[in-house]
């Protein structure tokens, strides 16, 4: 069965203790995927307010849909430059 791949960066990877995770999901919202993610990595929960997300490399909001095969990225506040 196809999976959703979740990539974690910076402080989010630290808090989760991993840079990558896989979930069996299809036709869920980003918010729903977040619930699955924090169930597995509870230390992520307090970061919610600071995080942004991307679906397949483009910024996405919590109500947007995630399908099997998608790549979701968990993005702490960017600090390039």
């Amino acid at each position: 069965m196809e999976q959703v791949k979740v990539l974690l960066f910076g402080a989010a990877a630290d808090q989760a203790g991993t840079r990558e995770a896989e979930f069996t999901a299809n036709g869920v919202t980003l918010d729903e995927l977040w619930s699955m993610l924090t169930l597995k990595y509870p230390a992520l929960s307090p970061m919610r307010g600071t995080l942004a997300f991307a679906i397949n490399g483009e910024y996405a909001k919590g109500e947007e849909m995630v399908n099997a095969g998608d790549e979701v990225a968990v993005l702490p506040p960017v600090s390039g430059g």
Partner: protein
Amino acid sequence: MTDGSFRIVDGPIDVGALVTGAFRPDCGAVATFVGTTRVDEGEGTSVEYLEYEAYRPMADRKLEEIGEEIRGRWDVGHVSIVHKLGRVDPGEPSVVIVVASPRRGPAFEASRYAIERIKEIVPIWKREIWSDGYVWVGSQVGTRSTPAE
């Protein structure tokens, strides 16, 4: 026609080549911004270096998007942005932005715009490496015993 390039690199940035590479006979002004690692001397302890990571290829695309935004807003002949990943020591460059324009106003405005947008939309993160641990800038998460310092 606008030339230039948008790159994320692991090795050092050749700043001089980037600046002189923007010189064009149809442009009279070249504005450059270089971000370097700054160290504030604290009480006996200070940042040893910065370490950058990126979400690629999204970060590459976002740099190109910034270039497109600039070309849409200002009359520019050249826009280049190079961002380094990995370790950047104090006084070393992490990002270089070079904009050439026929006139100086647009060159200044566009180079300023580029660095502000990088800090807004490009998925790159830095952590400060201290002798006693690290802190992710902007998230205040890390391994230091006093990460909020």
